[in-house]
Structures are given as structure tokens and as C-alpha cells.
């Protein structure tokens, strides 16, 4: 009999009911909740007179709507009402909440891991597609809709069909200036934005093993941009040392016992997958998206592609529409694209290492006079850490704005909107039409690339640009 994959092991440990011809009822260990996708779910419970089954397995915060200049001044009454509603619901249903006054508040996918709520082998859901982030710890984590949020609140379970499994083997060593963000963008550019649909992706290989937890989170975060509801990385020493001492992680002997159990989760050597993709990363260069989905992406030294050279009629038309929206012409060098905005933040790239990488570029330099640049830490904890390291001062001295935690410009539900026709170099995850504001043009990049674009006023190959200035590049 063939061995089992990480996904199959976690699945088997969570089966509550399995009947022929029906999906499996799967137990959910951790349910993360935020203000945007939960109000209708709590209302559903109220109407049916149902309690939250396990408030102790539920954890809420506020992130999407939160203003990042003064979080307590929510000028939009509809947004204010939504934030207020979460407070009322958490109180009424006894759900722990990291609200705006809490030292733990932040983007839901940043605080879960940093509080030690996210642990290997757990099943984790949230009414948010970027729940895939938590898979970096070897947890089965995926986004759900509001009906399922209500279902999990009421039952702590979900009906699930088993996904197909896809192994993405990433070997090689990253070149200077190339980051986890470039790896996942490059992968999606190569295989398309729906190659993971119907699959859970396991990321493996020496490039993944060499990554920090922050980097693995960036990769798993964007598994959904490849269509996969969940991304997974087998837990290892990097995972365990990240988790040790985190507030909700097991402590002392219990931690050591957990580590032993977590080590058993890794896919067996003879595990089989429905599909395997080999993605060498050694030749990858920093990536920049040129279109209106994350797969429309190319190396920074390249030029804007020509739709006429696309393989299918559908791709051709999609690329033409994208270039019209982005106001770009085929053949234009990526490094000729000028930006007016830079956003460093989001559940993809707002963790301490991301801010360190951006600060390394910003140190002693100045944001171009044509650019407005925002740095939005992912959580209060990240913000405190960054300030303790003096990163905020580096950003402020360079002319970046240093903001309070939240989702911010990633989806611009709060006031941090990009105006129509203007261009933003963004460390977030989606460059869809209108994502950062109606008519706004988004280019997805890594934190280092975004910081360099802020200073140069256009895209540059961050490593070459630094080398030209005669400075050493240190990959953090």
C-alpha cells in the first residue's frame, strides 16, 4: 500500500462522519473570524436560536475595514456598523476577540500564526480565501463562504469532498533579490491561475526547506491565486522553533510531545499525488505583474508581452483587455513603468521579515517625489517589533508613511484607496481590475521590489540596482 501524504494524514485525523455517496464531515480545530464575512453568519445563528458550539476554538479580529491612520475614527458609517456588529456578536456568542484596543489585533492571517493559534496538523478555516496562508505550518487551512462560517460556528464541522493532491517540487537556490513572493508569482505565471483548482498543493523541495516561516506563509498565502484552496508545507525544525513559546502553542513538555507528533505529519516517502510539478527556482528573477490577474506576470528584465503571441483566443482577448485596463503597450520594458503609489503590507507580505527587507532598501534613501508610499504592518505585534528594531524610523526618514495594522490598500475597503488611472507597486496578492480602487492599476511585487520602486519611481531589478550603487545585497 502506498504511503500517505501530509494532506491525507491531516484529513484522516479529522473525519467525524464518513458515509458512502456523501461528502465527509470533517472536524475543524480553529475557526478564525473577521468583520466582513461573519455578520450574516451570526445573524443566521440568532434566527435559528443556535449557539456557537465551540467559542474556545473560535478567534475573531478586525482587519479589512480598519482605517490605518487612526483606527478608531471610522468615517464610513456602514464600515463602522460592521466593526461594531462584530464586537456585539463576539460578546453575545462568547467568542474571543482581538479588537482595535487589543495588543493582538491585526490581519487575521498574521495574528493566527504569531499567537501560536496556528499549529501543524490542525484544520483551520476562515471566511477569507487567504486562509491558505496557515498551510505553511502543515495545517490544512482553507477559505470558506459565509454560509460555511455559520455552519462551523454551529457545528465545528464542515462537509468536505476530498481534494486531489498536487505536489510542487521547488529545487534550487534563489538568486540575490529573489524572494518567496517571486517564487509563487513565477509559479503561477508558468502554470496559470487555475492550475490548482480542485487540488490541495503541497510545496516541497530544497527551496521550500530553506525558507523561513514568513517566506513559507507568503508562498501558501498565494496558493489560492493558483486556484488551490489550500497550500501545505510539511512542518520541520524551522516550524517548531517559530512556534516555541508562542502564547497559544503547547508549552514545556507538552510542546516537546507535540513536536514528536508533528514530525509524523510529513508525507511518507512513497506517498503518491494526483499531479506533480517540478519548478526549478534557481534562474528566477524578481517578478512584476503586468496584467489583471496574478498569472499575468513576468521577470523585471523582460518587456510587456504581446497578446498576439498568446496561445489561445481566450488568453489573447484576456491579455488585450488587461493591457487596455493597465494602459500598457506590448514590448514596453517593465523597468519603464512608473508608479505613483507603493503599498507594503497585506496578509502576503506584512510580517517582520517583509518589513526588514523593505527597510534594508529604504535605509538612507528617499522616496521619489512622484510617489506616495505606505507601509502597513500586518499586526500590532509586527508593528511593535518593527519599532523596537527602528524600522519605522528608517521608513519615515525615507519618506514612507508608517501606518497602523490592517488589510488596507490590498483591497481598499478602508480609506487607503488608489485613485483611478494611477499605478501602485503592491506587495499584496491580487491585481484584479478595481481591486485597489476603481480604475486603479496594480502591479504585484515583493517587499524589496516595492521599496525600490518607491525610491526609483519606477520598477528596477532590486539586486542589480543595489549593486550599481555599490552596496552589498543581503538577503534577509
Amino acid at each position: 500500500m502506498a504511503g500517505k501524504s501530509l494532506y491525507e494524514k491531516i484529513w484522516e485525523q479529522h473525519v467525524v462522519v464518513a458515509e458512502a455517496g456523501k461528502p465527509t464531515l470533517l472536524y475543524i480545530d480553529l475557526h478564525l473570524v473577521h468583520e466582513v464575512t461573519s455578520p450574516q453568519a451570526f445573524e443566521g445563528l440568532r434566527l435559528a436560536g443556535r449557539p456557537v458550539r465551540r467559542p474556545d476554538r473560535t478567534f475573531a479580529t478586525m482587519d479589512h475595514n480598519v482605517p490605518t491612520d487612526d483606527p478608531f475614527v471610522v468615517l464610513d458609517p456602514v464600515a463602522a456598523k460592521q466593526i461594531e456588529t462584530l464586537t456585539e456578536n463576539c460578546k453575545a456568542f462568547n467568542v474571543p476577540l482581538a479588537d482595535l484596543t487589543s495588543d493582538d489585533q491585526g490581519i487575521v492571517h498574521v495574528i493566527g500564526p504569531e499567537l501560536g493559534l496556528t499549529l501543524p496538523g490542525k484544520t483551520i478555516v476562515c471566511g477569507d480565501s487567504h486562509t491558505s496562508t496557515h498551510g505553511a505550518f502543515g495545517a490544512l487551512a482553507f477559505g470558506i463562504g459565509t454560509s460555511e462560517v455559520e455552519h462551523v460556528l454551529a457545528t465545528q464541522c464542515l462537509w468536505q469532498q476530498k481534494s486531489k493532491t498536487l505536489l510542487v517540487q521547488m529545487d534550487g537556490t534563489l538568486r540575490p533579490g529573489v524572494t518567496a513572493k517571486d517564487v509563487i508569482l513565477g509559479l503561477i505565471a508558468t502554470y496559470g491561475i487555475d492550475f490548482g483548482t480542485g487540488y490541495v498543493i503541497e510545496f516541497a523541495g530544497e527551496a521550500v526547506r530553506a525558507m523561513s516561516m514568513e517566506e513559507r506563509m507568503t508562498v501558501c498565502n498565494m496558493a489560492i491565486e493558483a486556484g488551490a484552496r489550500a497550500g501545505l508545507v510539511a512542518p520541520d525544525e524551522t516550524t517548531f522553533s517559530y512556534l516555541q513559546g508562542r502564547r497559544y502553542a503547547p508549552q514545556g513538555d507538552a510542546f516537546n510531545a507535540s513536536v514528536e507528533a508533528w514530525k509524523q505529519l510529513a508525507s511518507d516517502p512513497d506517498a503518491t499525488y494526483d499531479r506533480t510539478v517540478i519548478f526549478p527556482v534557481g534562474d528566477l528573477e524578481p517578478q512584476v505583474t503586468w496584467g489583471t490577474n496574478p498569472g499575468m506576470c513576468i521577470g523585471v528584465s523582460a518587456t510587456v508581452p504581446n497578446p498576439a503571441e498568446m496561445q489561445t483566443e481566450n488568453d489573447r482577448r484576456a491579455a488585450e483587455q488587461a493591457l487596455a485596463y493597465m494602459d500598457l503597450s506590448p514590448g514596453m520594458p517593465i523597468t519603464d513603468i512608473e508608479v505613483q503609489h507603493v503599498f507594503i503590507g497585506s496578509c502576503t507580505n506584512s510580517r517582520i521579515e517583509d518589513l526588514r527587507a523593505a527597510a534594508e532598501i529604504a535605509r538612507g534613501r528617499r522616496v521619489a517625489s512622484t510617489v506616495r508610499a505606505l507601509v502597513v504592518p500586518g499586526s500590532k505585534q509586527v508593528k511593535r517589533q518593527a519599532e523596537a528594531e527602528g524600522l519605522h524610523q528608517i521608513f519615515l526618514d525615507a519618506g514612507f508613511e508608517w501606518r497602523e495594522p490592517g488589510c488596507s490598500t490590498c483591497l481598499a475597503m478602508n480609506p487607503d484607496v488608489i485613485p483611478a488611472g494611477e499605478r501602485c507597486a503592491s506587495t499584496s496578492n491580487r491585481n484584479f481590475e478595481g481591486r485597489q480602487g476603481r480604475g486603479a492599476r496594480t502591479h504585484l511585487v515583493s517587499p524589496a521590489m516595492a521599496a525600490a520602486a518607491a525610491i526609483a519611481g519606477r520598477f528596477v531589478h532590486v539586486a542589480e540596482w543595489i549593486a550599481e550603487e555599490g552596496l552589498a545585497w543581503n538577503r534577509s
Binding site: 456598523k81 460592521q82 477569507d128 487555475d194
Partner: protein, 193 residues
Amino acid sequence: MEPFVTHHGLVAAMDRVNVDTDAIIPKQFLKRIERSGFGQFLFNDWRFNEDGSLNPEFELNQPELQGASILLARNNFGCGSSREHAPWALADYGFRAILAPSFADIFHNNCFKNGLLAIQLPEAIIDELFAKSRAGAFHLTVDLQEQVITAGAELRIPFSVDPYRRELLLQGLDDIGVTLQHAAAIQAFENQR
């Protein structure tokens, strides 16, 4: 949930690949705490000009497609954000079924929770339906009981959906109620951990 057994309706064709949920319902409309009333914001940035007037170029604004209840779409429909506001908006606008070569997983799941029948069909059949739409507005009958799509006697397209989802849709069942029938199994699972 409103049961779905059979539905006869006008087909609106939307010839774009990778339509994401940000396009289906832009983020500024996600702040409401209600479940209803999202139809007016469906495809807002494509459907309306900046000044709020109708964009005459947009597919759904064509006079002959008013009252459409079946959406013909391209691959990877509903990709991106998990926002259930997307199926809420589609259903509230009046759509009962969506036909496409592929759907994004979370969106597909969300549709079935809201009585919106998302049917995956082979690309060649979708191409034929698009060709048919270019010849003028047309109606289809979607029969979930028999799992077949028909247009009079000339067209007959069998399809299949997951049997469990089909059952819930046919009966308009809320699956929390079904799950709570397994409360003892859930309790037993929790006890043995």
C-alpha cells in the same frame, strides 16, 4: 434556501475568462451586514459608468438580455476572494443557474449554499452555446431532477452535479440542520481527542 428543481430562463452570455469575485461584487459593497439587496451592485464597475449611468457596452445591459436568469460563462468563473456576496448578488439579480467550463472552488461551493446551480460543462459545449448566443437571445430549461439542459427538441445537454449537493438543492435544505443530526458523532469525536 429556495429549492431548485427545474428552471426555464433567458440566457445571458458573458464571454470573459477568469471573472473574479472582485468584479462580480466590488469591495465597497461588502460592508453591509445584511444578506439581501446585493443584486443592485452586481458587476458594478462594469455595469455602471463612474457617474452611475448604465454602461451600454456591458453584456448584461443589452436590452434583449433583461430578465436573464441563466448565465453562460467562461473558465475559472468566480476566482479570487471567498466573498459569498458574489453568489448573493448573482441570485438577487435574478440568476438561478450558471454554466461554465470550470468554476473556482470556493465560489462553486458558495453557489450551492444559495440555491444557485453552478453547472460545469465541457468546453466544446460551452463554445456551442456561445455561438448560439451570438445568433440572438435564447432560452434554456435546466432540469436538476433529470440532470439535463434542453432548448425545445433541438438541444439536449446532460450534466451531473455532486449527488449530495443535488439532493440539498432539490429539497432546498439547510445543511446545518442535517449536520446537527450527527451531534452525537461530533460529541464522540471531541471526547476521544
